[in-house]
Symmetry: C2
Subunit: 533 residues, 2 copies
């Protein structure tokens, strides 16, 4: 029996300090709870895998993470991946790539330049997604800032602001201005005396004056925070430019016609507030880093069609039926399986899971989400509007968002995200499904027409034939963008016999790589605990 210290010395000798750190985390020696999301540190476990065999179904972020950690703990891992590439929903498209939906293939026609790509799946990493960020650090994946809140971008919604786009700095500034003015009035009218002492009132008024940039009489009359008149936005050389005219209070309030208040505070969300990152060169740099380490464990184009818990001679194990390029292979037998297949796909794979597990799988629905990207002839958003990265917002019931690239600043061309659509309304209308059900060329056409409302002349600025669309509900082996409810289903947090479930489907961070990686670490720990006891 090797001691824990001996094991760590061994890892240190082959993998350096980072390896020890990661192994200690996997072994629960660093309070792995902070990595796996367990609410209390689990009992410290240890093990070398003992040559136990684990089959991992799916080479997305969860599968890659599990393989990387189990491999280092001495388990014999194999990943069965249905497609010809790793990454799953972590998908970056570039010149020459071919991507598939049920309805057919698209070839990506961006120019062959490293900076011209689009992240069609996850595209940002918040500062507190420690599992993913720690892997980026360990693997040397270089990061650059991703901008959500860009005050030069636009808000546009039918029925609001005469249907014109309004620049973000204006709407944010005026919103704060009127809120502060109205509250100051109420305070001065003694409407809040039951909540506020005389001292509170004074402090609150001083806070509001600053919060909203109010005049001495606590009235909001516009603010240079929204920019200055003329071409400069700033005060200009002479300093005699006046602040832009504010929107009227009623214009600001009218923004609710589009039910879009949430877009104004989007970057306050805990997973959306600064600092956020993207890997330099595309989100799949993370996949590439994993593949460098565990790529040899992946069997690509291996489609699973049966998962069976079995027992023979008192030994329980799992047997996985699969085919490789249409050819039925010998079933893959392992001590454990980690299944990261989305439930949308898993529900049609034969199995002998318990009734509870099968119900959970059947009930776990996935959202749809659509992204559409175009290469632009020039970076008109930078040249004409001084927009560097960030998001313009329009209605849910349309393209919803335009994303400006957070890389390649000042270069000749750029890839703009012309739509990012998700979510439903109170009538259960799934906005993304509208796009998903269109043909590829209809999607592009719709995105071009809608983008025109934010950027007049849009269509002519883009290289329309480079358009790429991705409707995740229409993608083989995915059939959805992320699990609908951000709550892990209890039944799938438990193993069913020798089969464990991992991926964002067993996480509260659905749709985030962090959820996939956290759940993979928790699963590795659970298997290792079981092997050791």
């Amino acid at each position: 029996m090797i001691t824990k210290r001996q094991f760590l010395q061994y890892i240190g000798s082959v993998a350096g300090a980072a390896g020890v750190y990661r192994s200690m985390a996997a072994l629960g020696m660093l309070g792995v709870s902070s990595l796996t999301g367990c609410s209390s540190p689990s009992a410290v476990s240890q093990g070398l895998g003992d040559g136990k065999r684990v089959v991992i179904l799916g080479a997305g972020i969860a599968g890659l993470t599990a393989a990387y950690e189990l491999d280092r703990l001495g388990y014999a891992c194999t990943i069965l991946e249905a497609t010809a590439r790793a990454g799953g929903r972590n998908l970056t498209v570039r010149h020459g790539d071919v991507i598939e939906e049920f309805s057919g293939m698209q070839r990506v026609k961006f120019d062959n330049e490293a900076y011209l790509y689009a992240n069609m799946g996850p595209a940002r990493i918040p500062y507190h997604h420690r599992t993913i960020l720690d892997y980026c650090k360990t693997f040397g994946v270089e990061l650059e800032v991703f901008t959500n809140d860009n005050r030069a971008a636009f808000f546009q919604a039918p029925g609001s602001f005469d249907n014109q786009p309004v620049v973000a700095r204006q709407l944010h500034t005026d919103q704060r201005g009127y809120i502060a003015e109205l509250l100051a009035k109420a305070v001065q009218r003694n409407a809040l005396d039951q909540e506020l002492t005389a001292e509170d009132r004074e402090r609150l008024l001083s806070m509001l004056a600053d919060f909203g940039n109010l005049e001495d009489d606590y009235m909001y009359k516009g603010s240079g925070r929204a920019g200055y008149q003329g071409d400069h936005i700033n005060k200009g050389l002479d300093g005699d430019a006046m602040p832009v005219e504010p929107l009227g209070l009623r214009q600001v309030l009218g923004f609710d016609k589009a039910d879009l208040w949430w877009t104004l505070r989007f970057s306050h969300g805990i997973n959306q507030n600064p600092t956020l990152f993207q890997p330099v060169g595309g989100m799949d740099m993370i996949v590439e880093a994993f593949e460098e380490r565990v790529g040899h464990l992946i069997r690509y184009e291996s489609i699973v069609d049966g998962i069976w818990n079995k027992t023979e001679g008192g030994r329980s194990f799992v047997s996985v039926d699969y085919s490789y390029r249409g050819e039925v292979m010998e079933s893959f037998v392992a001590d454990f399986a980690i299944c990261t297949i989305p439930t949308t796909v898993l529900k049609d794979i034969d199995n002998n899971f318990s009734g509870t597990t099968r119900t959970a799988i059947d009930e776990k629905k996935y959202d749809a989400a659509v992204k559409i990207a175009f290469q632009a002839k020039r970076r008109f958003w930078e040249e004409d509007h001084y927009i560097y990265g960030g998001i313009s917002w329009t209605t849910h019931n349309d393209i919803q968002q335009i994303w400006y690239p957070a890389n390649g600043y000042h270069r000749a061309k750029g890839v703009i995200l012309g739509a990012y659509v998700f979510g439903e309304d109170e009538f259960d209308r799934d906005f993304a499904l509208r796009f998903a059900k269109m043909s590829h060329s209809q999607r592009l056409e719709h995105a071009l027409t809608s983008g025109e409302r934010i950027h007049p002349g849009y269509r002519n600025e883009l290289e329309v034939n480079t358009g790429v669309s991705r409707a995740w509900s229409e993608v083989p082996f995915q059939k959805g963008s992320w699990p609908s409810a951000p709550v892990p289903i209890e039944a799938l947090e438990m193993p069913d016999g020798a089969v464990y479930f991992a991926g964002d489907l067993t996480s509260a961070l659905t749709g985030w790589q962090e959820g996939s990686a956290q759940s993979a670490l928790a699963t590795v720990e659970a298997i290792n605990d079981r092997v050791m006891t």
Copy 2:
């Protein structure tokens, strides 16, 4: 006589499209107002400089810009620069650099790594500072995002929050929450019925619920926007983490004891709101790019001690007395001079300016500002607090700010800005002067002690002997950080005989490179207009 079109064709043939663009701007053909800050386009001017000689005093951003543009228009330019380097207040310090104050020299002891530097002068470029950004684009200076608003950074002020640092996401979220709750109450108590229709009320309440993340009863009871309990900040794997407890209303209001409301809305200022940039590798990459183009026109270590308007035989010109390394040189004679010397220094240089000009020079005061930087043994802000770039704030009357580097993420070490102090209070106490009057080692000691309040253990995390301090009021040939009032003095916007004044001192964007560059372009245009007519 060459036509404008011929001239542009010529420029196009030698400098390409970018050259034509820049020249057209300098000639007023692109509506140069957008570059120079004139409130209306000036009469279109043209010219090839005609071999006229211009002497430029100072190789800061204004001097470099003027030289670059005049040189390309065919003027014979020379820059007299007092020090051995170009850039002026654009100062990036690295391993082995030696910087000077009146009290002595400091040698920079950062490790010899490209990512370990500190911008001791300007450090950010807002998206609308078009002149500087256009030069970055034209020269191929690579940019990366600079983060002002980082929700993982801290606010700390004596007398507030029990003197403890509060994380930015908490204070911002709670501030918005209580403002929304109080205003919703006032609305429901009909305190604002004279301003609001029934429909307005409804819309406002819906806006406030979202703005502050209020409960159904419009009460603020905390929000996940401030983060979740436990180690994750986000919801974690299981999703059962509760939002952190909110600060009390009175605690939030108590922040005003430190008169620091402005720090909470700092990133809303028009020159501080996203997106902001820094050049990759240090702010002086801009200086380097200019030097590549006009470095041969600079005479370094040339100290001016007299500026004289002269007339001989009906021809007026300027004669500049200067010494080179202590040796008096023959006076430099030119058709025009562009003086970018700070008034703090210029007022002691002999001249025969008009009384109006001399008064203006005497009256133009400069602020003090101090920056202090340390190399850290490890990036504890990233590793322990998940802070990537951005600013922690403490009181005016202290180090005021700690800046975390917006580069080198996840690398071994990092250079942290341990103080950035400027400004005065209502008693005319200049906070920066407190630091400026200390010895270098006293400044470091003070910064270490104060930083400890935000980051317990701070001193031990830093390589204390690497500390660099820069008090701009104590720097030879600068004697100040930026002109105090952000309003150009009219007398210096006009030439005095053949002498023109440029730099942020003739701009409303004092303390910004943009002001320097805009004023240089306006001066180039004014000289060219004069030559052509």
